[in-house]
């Protein structure tokens, strides 16, 4: 097998490595998640510098090493520079990247997740719609793609479809009053459930039309944060800490 490969990828993360290099986490529909060294990319004059940044889509020429790729050339296809103009959108975009980075195994191709992230990043770049709602949409779709889709249609235990419904992280979905006996549970308001259902069913392009009051957005965020934590085993996200720091809630 040739040690030189071509791949289209987006950059999830860029860290400084040594004196002038950068260590990138690439995510490609062909080769999946991969670590790649971008030699000299800290230098403003480097040909790699402009592409060695998050929110970049590029074609890479990669040299396969023992544990890392080394970038030999890159051609930037698109830089989502609009994201930088809004700190919240910027942090949400990186939260999506962190979620992908933490849930996808190295070298595992996952084109559907790639498309989802690309789509959501483009929407953040255009600064359309509510970024927080887009992040909830992203979480729901990620759960779906990772095989942890929360069951929201009817009671997970008996199948009945009449409200009110309850929720806990470990049951994998909503459950009815009868099945709630003896279980830890929280009540799920009809409005929040309807919101989750519509997010789960809609394509990314429609999410920008969705709006919700601050209280409901907080509820949605907490529900999904705990659910995601339970099923993926990821306890914390640096980007969520950051979002809390810049929040004026």
């Amino acid at each position: 097998m040739s040690r030189l490969i071509k791949a289209g990828a987006l950059v999830l993360r860029a860290r400084r490595l040594g004196e002038k290099d950068k260590l990138l986490t690439l995510f490609s529909p062909e080769i999946g998640k991969a670590g790649a060294r971008a030699p000299g990319a800290c230098n403003v004059k480097s040909k790699l510098a402009a592409g060695a940044e998050p929110f970049t889509f590029a074609n890479f020429l990669l040299y396969r090493g023992k544990s890392l790729y080394t970038i030999s050339q890159l051609e930037v296809k698109k830089s989502l520079v609009g994201i930088r103009g809004n700190i919240r959108g910027y942090a949400l975009g990186l939260y999506m990247a962190e979620l992908v980075e933490k849930t996808v195994e190295e070298g595992e191709a996952f084109p559907a997740i790639y498309r989802l992230l690309a789509e959501c990043w483009h929407l953040l770049n255009e600064q359309k719609g509510d970024g927080d709602i887009l992040a909830r949409f992203f979480e729901l779709k990620m759960l779906d793609l990772l095989g942890y889709r929360p069951h929201l249609d009817n009671c997970v235990f008996c199948g009945q479809a009449k409200a009110p419904f309850y929720w806990n992280n470990s049951c994998g979905g909503i459950f009815c009053g009868n099945c709630a006996r003896g279980r830890t549970r929280m009540a799920l308001s009809a409005g929040t459930l309807a919101f989750l259902r519509s997010l789960q069913a809609m394509p990314a392009g429609k999410v920008i039309k969705m709006r919700a009051p601050t209280g409901q957005k907080r509820e949605l965020r907490e529900i999904l944060r705990h659910f995601l934590g339970y099923w993926t085993g990821i306890e914390s996200f640096k980007t969520q800490d950051f979002l809390r720091k810049i929040s004026d809630e």
């Binding site: 990319a41 800290c42 510098a49 930088r84 700190i87 640096k238 950051f242």
Partner: protein
Amino acid sequence: MIFSPAITRLIEALRRLPGIGPKTAQRLAFFVLSMRKEDVEEFAHALLDAKKRVRQCSRCFNLTEEEVCSICRDPRRESTLLCVVQEARDIYVIEKTGQYRGLYFVLHGALSPLEGIGPEELKIPRLLQRLQEGEIKEVIMATNPNVEGDATAFYIAESARPLGVKVMRIGFGLPVGGDLEYADQLTMSRALEARREMF
């Protein structure tokens, strides 16, 4: 290979330096051991002395041995103009152009969601406080021309908007990426000249 405890300690200490891997740390440690005793003493003394004397300027957070750095104390500098940089070393890149006559402010980093570094971990609250004092009329955001530097500049510009200060961004034209510390004199001069109002 097993090293003596003292050598291991030296290697470990060297490894804490940025860009030093285990191999380089070993090489450096053996080099130190081959040096003359007086030179090693001078080396250790220089480390301790610099650490003891150098601190952050109380006005701009540049590195200095004084309470207030020489730039902040210089009466010939334009006191209504403030250039915001990520690191103290970036000041030298801009000073070398000889084009800038205002004051500086060092953030000591950039906003970084993936590292969890928010405004409070940087000097951003102190900067906004400084702008509130009213003497500064124009701010030049000279954070790195990359994603983090841009996002930090936009965040500060947005926060400073209600204060009525004019906020400019150095211009590199297209997104370039990279760190300011590696910009040569000509590139830096051009970027300063090409500065534009952010809003």
